[in-house]
């Protein structure tokens, strides 16, 4: 960019630009800050009117309560959510990688036809919710984590597309070298292409993991009782022994629930932005 001299008008322009951006950011972030500062308040301070912005003394014991009080079953939910997310994400990444590789590097009659079907799947079909529910109940897949494994195994269009874009950029020589070494398609994929796809695997894994982690609807719909996940538990407020909801305690639980995603996003923002742009722009 060409540097212009800083005259007063330009300084004002820059200043107002930053002012607008910061104001907008504050509006977007304030709700989250409010969650953080409320999570260390006593319930009585949270409910006070006129509003008390900061707790006089941070009540960190909210977090201890949430994590240790067996009544809330937080750790159990945390474990269930983690297991469920892994059960989905691992097969999802592998299946998507394999299919994405096939679409990028293999030629066969009907390939374009299959690709069109893949793209058409991106129109989310809520038409299938009722029949799916009926079929799953008949197959005994209700309240069963196996359902998530099967969903994962089917891959997902966005993830397949990400892998396809990535594998398409590999040089042709890679396959030729593998063929000369006598490697079949399976070895070529698992020993040459997949080990080089770690950045995309990380992004797709994170997308898959956070989809299940953050999803409440399918879990509330298909799971119950012992299988309940963190999302399901946190949808209802934690209560005191009399059954009154304690919002601050619930917010503390929500911070523990949501913070890992925010941290990982900050750490991996470059790759994630790339992923969002690829599926968003080229989808």
């Amino acid at each position: 960019m060409n540097k212009k001299p800083l005259n007063p008008g330009r300084v004002f322009e820059r200043f107002s630009l930053y002012a607008v951006i910061i104001a907008l950011t504050v509006i977007f972030i304030l709700p989250i800050i409010w969650m953080l500062i409320s999570s260390v308040k006593a319930e009585t301070d949270f409910m006070r009117w006129p509003i008390l912005w900061f707790a006089p003394v941070p009540k960190w014991s909210n977090y201890v309560q949430v994590l240790t009080n067996p009544k809330y079953g937080f750790m159990k939910g945390l474990l269930n959510s983690t297991i469920l997310a892994l059960i989905f994400s691992i097969p999802n990444v592998i299946s998507s990688a394999i299919a994405g590789y096939a679409f990028a590097r293999m030629k066969a009659p009907g390939r374009n036809g299959f690709f069109i079907i893949l793209m058409a799947m991106m129109i989310p079909a809520s038409v299938t919710v009722i029949p799916q529910f009926v079929l799953y109940s008949r197959l005994g897949l209700i309240n069963n984590y196996l359902l998530w494994f099967l969903w994962g195994l089917a891959g997902s269009p966005f993830q397949i597309l990400l892998f396809r874009q990535f594998f398409a950029s590999f040089p042709k020589e890679l396959e030729d070298a593998a063929a000369i070494d006598g490697a079949g398609p399976i070895r070529t994929f698992f020993q040459i292409f997949l080990p080089n796809a770690q950045p995309v695997m990380a992004v797709t894994f994170l997308f898959a993991f956070s989809w299940v982690w953050g999803d409440w609807f399918h879990q509330a719909f298909y799971l119950s009782g012992e299988k309940a996940t963190l999302a399901m538990k946190l949808a209802t407020a934690f209560t005191d022994p009399k059954g009154n909801p304690i919002v601050t305690l619930t917010l503390a639980g929500l911070v523990i629930y949501a913070l890992p995603l925010i941290i990982v996003y900050f750490l991996m923002q470059k790759q994630l932005v790339q992923g969002i742009v690829t599926t968003g722009l080229k989808g």
């Binding site: 409910m47 809520s126 299938t128 925010i262």
Partner: protein
């Protein structure tokens, strides 16, 4: 190709342009896409077919042996609702209103933020991430955030309004649930669109901008004549995604609803937030009318499909497609 030389040694018979050896190689493609394709059959094709059949029956979820095909009765009942101002029509109109309000706000706001962030400022990546945080927060967490913000007794929004207009006391969650739903959706949806718009703006070729600068274009003219036309495909994409997403809105109104005990599929939101998908769930899973619910799903599906087709058709009048053979 080595495959060709090998085929002359073996056999010359070909099927669909491939020899036996060619098919052997090609078959790996089918093996590799099999997990996805079988999943597609199991989770999409079969349910779609079953759902289609179901919409012509009086299936209740339990009468597996006694259900009957009742022709178009479900559909005529649904369309009857539309023409007599029934509950299904009400739900559809609320959903349409939600889409009409949310999509333009979302697009305008995210485009504005993207333009600001691409104006050579420091830490644009950092700001971009901050705007995206609401999108990565799980829906269960963000609903609590919004309930805490909008609560009539101790909510932040009423507290701030009170500073400006004393004695403001607005029951947001019960009297203006639709407004809260819209604000929440915009808050959670802008970040993703900002990322995509920023990529689009940064993808505008530098030569074009320089040429325009030399011609003496100011910022507004630059945007009007260069950036905006090149962004129209992205705006179009956001429109389509917005239509598909917002007409199927379900989770957010369910979670936002004031409720006695536990949030569940059967939760009934306030009237203002009685969306079409919620009506479908009420009919199917609460009133056990799976057949009728299926017909409503199909009506929604075709409604979305027609809107998408109409949008695509009009796109040639306002979406600028660069014709560049080298473009991927």
């Amino acid at each position: 190709m080595s495959a060709d030389t090998q085929t002359t040694l073996r056999t010359k018979r070909k099927f669909l342009g491939l020899s036996g050896f060619g098919w052997m190689r090609a078959s790996w493609f089918y093996v590799f896409i099999a997990p996805w394709f079988l999943g597609f059959l199991a989770f999409t094709v079969i349910p779609v077919a079953v759902g289609m059949l179901m919409s012509f029956t009086n299936f209740t979820g339990t009468n597996f042996d006694t259900y009957k095909f009742i022709g178009l009765a479900n559909y005529s009942e649904a369309f009857g609702e539309f023409f007599t101002d029934g509950i299904a029509w009400y739900a559809l109109s609320r959903t349409g209103l939600f889409a009409i309000v949310t999509i333009p706000i979302n697009i305008v706001l995210s485009l504005l933020i993207a333009i600001l962030l691409t104006r050579n400022i420091r830490g644009k990546g950092f700001f971009r991430t901050l705007f995206y945080i609401p999108s990565i927060i799980p829906v269960v967490a963000s609903v609590w955030i919004w309930k805490a913000l909008m609560d009539n007794n101790y909510g932040v929004v009423n507290a701030v309004l009170n500073e400006i207009v004393p004695n403001t006391y607005i029951r947001w969650l019960t009297e203006y649930p639709f407004h809260v739903l819209v604000m929440w959706s915009v808050w959670a949806g802008v970040g993703g669109a900002v990322i995509i718009f920023m990529a689009g703006i940064q993808g505008v070729p530098a030569e074009l901008e320089e040429a325009a600068r030399i011609d003496g274009a100011n910022n507004f003219q630059m945007f009007r004549n260069i950036t905006a036309p090149l962004l129209t495909p992205v705006i179009f994409y956001q429109f389509i995604v917005g239509i598909i997403g917002s007409l199927q809105i379900l989770t957010q109104p369910l979670l936002l609803a004031p409720r006695a005990v536990q949030a569940g599929i059967a939760t009934l939101p306030p009237r203002e937030n009685y969306m079409f998908m919620i009506h479908i769930y009420q009919e199917s899973f609460v009133r056990q009318r799976y057949g009728y619910g299926s017909s409503l799903l199909w009506i929604l599906f075709f409604f979305i499909l027609i809107l998408t087709i109409v949008m695509t058709y009009t796109s040639k009048y306002w979406v600028y497609y660069e014709v560049n053979p080298e473009d991927k």
